[in-house]
C-alpha cells in the first residue's frame, strides 16, 4: 500500500498499461513535453517517446477522430480532452462514429478507444471550463462511462478502460487530482458495474460519484451526529450501472438521495431515479431526492459557484428531509 494522489494513480495506470502493451499510446493537447496542464501525464513522453505520447494541434474533432481511427486497426489510443467542455467539438467522432461502429458493422469492427474527459468545477473556471457533461455520453448506446472518486479506483478503472474492447469515456475530476489515497502496490483492473459502498448506513442511501463522493461522506458525518445513518453509494461506473448493488442498498435504507455536480435536469441522476422508481419502487419509503447542480451554467464568482454546486450541507438537508418525511409516507 502507498499513499498517492489521484493524478499520480492515473499516471501510473497509463505507465503500466503502456509498459504492458505496445499498442497503447496517448494523444492530446500538451500532454507530452509539458506533461499536461494538470501534470497528469508527466514523464510519460520521456519514458515512452514522442511517437507513443503525441502532442497534438488544437483540433478536438481530428484528434479524437484519429484516436478512434487508430483503434479500428488495433491501436489502443487514449485521448485526453483537457477540459470535458471541449468534447462539444468532438461529439460526432464520439457519439456518431466510435459508439456506433460495432453495431452498424454488425459486430465486425470495434473502436476500443479510451477518452479521458477532465471534468467538473475547478474554482472560478466559469461556464466553459467547469462542466460535468457525462449525461451526454451515458445516453449514447455503445459507450461505456466510468467516473472514479479515489486514486485506487482511478487506477484500476483506467486499466479496465484501456483493455476494454468497447469505447470508454473516462471521467476524471480536476479537484480530485491532488487528493491522496491508499493504492495497492500491484492493482488489478476493476470490472465495470461494481459499485462501492463507501460508508454503510441504514436510514438513507446517498448515491454520488466523482468529487461529490467526498461531499456525500461529509454529509453522512453531519447526519450521523443527528442520529441519522446514511449509506454512501459510489457506482464508480455509470454505464454499466450496478443495479443490484443499488437494490441491496435500498433494501437496507428504503430512501434515496442522488448527488452530482451536473445540472439536475436530465443529469445521470435522473436515470438513477428512474431506475429506482421503475424497479425498486416497493423498496422506497419516501420520495426520491436529487441534491444536484442547479440548472444554470457555472458562474465565475466563488459565492455564485458555491451556490450552484451541491455541498455537504445541502446533501444532508435533502437526506434529513426524507428521513423526517419518509416514515410518514406509507
Amino acid at each position: 500500500m502507498r499513499l498517492i494522489s489521484y493524478a499520480a494513480a492515473i499516471n501510473e495506470a497509463l505507465n503500466e498499461e503502456m509498459e504492458r502493451d505496445s499498442e497503447v499510446f496517448l494523444l492530446g493537447e500538451d500532454i507530452g513535453e509539458s506533461g499536461g496542464v494538470f501534470g497528469v501525464t508527466k514523464g510519460l513522453q520521456e519514458r515512452f517517446g514522442a511517437d507513443r505520447v503525441l502532442d497534438t494541434p488544437i483540433s478536438e474533432e481530428a484528434i479524437v477522430g484519429a484516436a478512434v481511427g487508430a483503434s479500428l486497426l488495433g491501436g489502443r489510443a487514449v485521448v485526453e480532452l483537457m477540459f470535458s467542455d471541449f468534447s462539444a467539438l468532438a461529439m460526432d467522432m464520439i457519439a456518431n462514429q466510435a459508439a456506433k461502429t460495432h453495431y452498424m458493422s454488425g459486430g465486425q469492427l470495434t473502436a476500443p478507444v479510451t477518452i479521458r474527459l477532465v471534468t467538473g468545477y475547478v474554482g472560478s473556471g466559469a461556464a466553459q471550463h467547469s462542466q460535468s457533461l457525462e449525461a451526454w455520453f451515458t445516453h449514447i448506446p455503445g459507450l461505456k462511462c466510468v467516473a472514479p472518486s479515489t486514486p485506487a479506483d482511478a487506477k484500476a478503472l483506467l486499466k479496465t478502460a484501456i483493455r476494454d474492447p468497447d469505447p470508454v469515456c473516462y471521467f476524471e475530476h480536476k479537484l480530485l487530482y491532488n487528493r491522496k489515497g491508499e493504492v495497492p502496490d500491484a492493482i488489478e483492473p476493476l470490472p465495470f458495474g461494481q459499485a462501492r459502498i463507501v460508508r454503510e448506513g441504514s436510514d438513507v442511501t446517498i448515491v454520488a460519484y466523482l468529487k461529490m463522493v467526498l461531499d456525500a461522506v461529509e454529509a453522512a458525518e453531519i447526519l450521523a451526529e443527528e442520529g441519522i445513518s446514511a449509506e454512501v453509494f459510489d457506482p464508480r461506473s455509470l454505464v454499466p450501472f450496478d443495479r443490484d448493488g443499488l437494490r441491496r442498498s435500498l433494501e437496507r435504507t428504503g430512501r434515496l438521495v442522488i448527488v452530482h455536480e451536473a445540472p439536475t435536469r436530465g443529469g445521470f441522476g435522473a436515470e438513477i431515479a428512474a431506475i429506482a422508481a421503475e424497479e425498486y419502487f416497493d423498496l422506497l419509503r419516501a420520495p426520491i431526492a436529487r441534491a444536484c447542480g442547479a440548472n444554470t451554467p457555472i458562474p465565475y464568482a466563488p459565492e455564485l459557484e458555491n451556490r450552484v454546486i451541491p455541498d455537504p450541507t445541502r446533501i444532508a438537508d435533502a437526506a434529513r428531509a426524507l428521513v423526517e418525511a419518509g416514515s410518514a409516507v406509507h
Partner: protein, 331 residues
C-alpha cells in the same frame, strides 16, 4: 489516355470493375423501385473511374474510409456483390447483418472501414488509420474518399493539418462531382480547384481527370508511393460527375441540361471501352462477354440476397457492445 505500364489483363480488369459498379448501381435502383431495398441509395454512377483507379493502386494492407456514396469504393476494393445486395435487402447474410444498410457497409477483411452517413465523417477516421499504419512502420496506407461538399467541413481541415504535420501515410481523395447534394460547387465554396487547399497544409495537391481511370491510377500510384515511403499524405482531387440525382428519387432538376449532356458524353466506361478497342488489343467481343458475365453475377447476387433470411427482431439487441458485461451495459 496513357496505360502507364499496366498489362492487358490489368486494363481489362479496370474495365470490368467499372462496369460491375455501373451495373450494380443501375440494378440496385431497379430493385429499390421494385421495393426490395428499404433505405436511401446514393448511386456512384458516373464516378466509377475514381474508385477503380485509386483501388488499383492499393495493396492488401491498405485501408479505406468511404462515404454515403460508397458502393463503388467497396466493389472496387473487391467486395462481394451478393453480400452487398443482401445488406441492401436488409437480410442476415448482408455485410452488416442488416444493421447498417447502404450508408454503413463495412468489410473489415478487405480493410474497408466503412461507408459513412456523416459527410466528412470518414476523414478523421482515415487519418487515425494512417497514424496506426505509421506506428506499424508505414505497413500500408489509408485512403479517405469524400466529395467536394465535404471539403467545407471542419473535419477536412483539422485532419489534413494533422496528417501533414505528422507525415501520415494517407491519400485524401476528393471526388469533385460539382455538387454537394443539390448545391453547385460555386454556391458552396468560392474556388474551383479543391486540390489547391492542400497548400494550406504544405501538402502536395494533385488534380486528376476523374473520368479517366488511367489518369486516376497514375496519380494514386504516385501518392501511395510517397505515403509508403514516409513522405506523408497527398490530396487528390478527381474531377468527375454523377450521372444521376443525388439519391435515387432525386431527378437532379437543379443541373443545367447542357452540363449533364457534356459530362454524359465523357462517360468513363464508354471512353475507356472505346480506348481498349481502338488500341486494338481488346476486341469488342471480349468486352461484351465481360458485360454478359457481370449480368449473370448480379443476377446471382440478387437471387442470393432474395433467398437470405430476414433478421430476427431480437438481433437488434446484439452488437451494441462487444463485451456487454452480461448485458448490464445494455440496460
Amino acid at each position: 489516355m496513357e496505360d502507364g505500364g499496366s498489362t492487358r489483363a490489368e486494363l481489362v480488369t479496370l474495365y470490368r470493375t467499372m462496369l460491375l459498379i455501373r451495373r450494380f448501381e443501375e440494378r440496385a435502383a431497379e430493385l429499390r423501385q421494385e421495393g426490395f431495398i428499404p433505405g436511401f441509395l446514393h448511386p456512384y454512377i458516373g464516378q466509377e473511374a475514381v474508385a477503380v483507379g485509386v483501388c488499383a493502386a492499393l495493396g492488401a494492407e491498405d485501408v479505406i474510409t468511404s462515404t454515403h456514396r460508397g458502393h463503388g469504393h467497396m466493389l472496387a476494393r473487391g467486395a462481394d456483390p451478393r453480400r452487398m445486395y443482401a445488406e441492401l435487402y436488409a437480410r442476415v447474410d448482408g455485410y452488416n447483418r442488416a444493421k447498417g444498410g447502404s450508408l454503413h457497409m463495412i468489410d473489415t477483411g478487405l480493410g474497408f472501414l466503412g461507408a459513412n452517413g456523416i459527410v466528412g465523417g470518414g476523414i478523421p477516421l482515415a487519418t487515425g488509420a494512417g497514424l496506426q499504419r505509421k506506428r506499424e512502420g508505414n505497413a500500408g496506407v489509408a485512403v479517405s474518399f469524400f466529395g467536394d461538399g465535404a471539403t467545407n467541413q471542419g473535419a477536412f481541415h483539422e485532419s489534413l493539418n494533422l496528417a501533414s504535420l505528422w507525415k501520415l501515410p494517407v491519400l485524401y481523395v476528393c471526388e469533385n462531382n460539382l455538387y454537394g447534394e443539390f448545391t453547385r460547387q460555386d454556391k458552396h465554396q468560392p474556388m474551383t480547384d479543391i486540390a489547391r487547399r492542400a497548400d494550406s497544409y504544405a501538402m502536395p495537391g494533385v488534380v486528376a481527370d476523374g473520368n479517366d481511370v488511367l489518369d486516376v491510377l497514375r496519380v494514386a500510384r504516385e501518392a501511395r508511393a510517397r505515403a509508403a515511403a514516409g513522405e506523408g499524405p497527398t490530396l487528390i482531387e478527381a474531377k468527375t460527375y454523377r450521372h444521376r440525382g443525388h439519391y435515387e428519387g432525386d431527378m437532379g432538376a437543379y443541373r443545367p441540361p447542357d452540363e449533364v449532356r457534356e459530362w454524359l458524353a465523357r462517360d468513363p466506361i464508354v471512353t475507356f471501352g472505346a480506348w481498349l478497342v481502338e488500341r486494338g488489343s481488346v476486341p469488342q467481343g471480349e468486352l461484351n462477354e465481360i458485360a454478359a458475365r457481370i449480368e449473370n453475377e448480379l443476377e446471382d447476387a440478387a437471387a442470393f440476397a432474395d433467398a437470405s433470411p430476414h433478421p430476427q427482431p431480437d438481433e437488434a439487441l446484439e452488437d451494441v457492445y462487444r463485451d456487454t458485461y452480461e448485458g448490464m451495459a445494455l440496460r
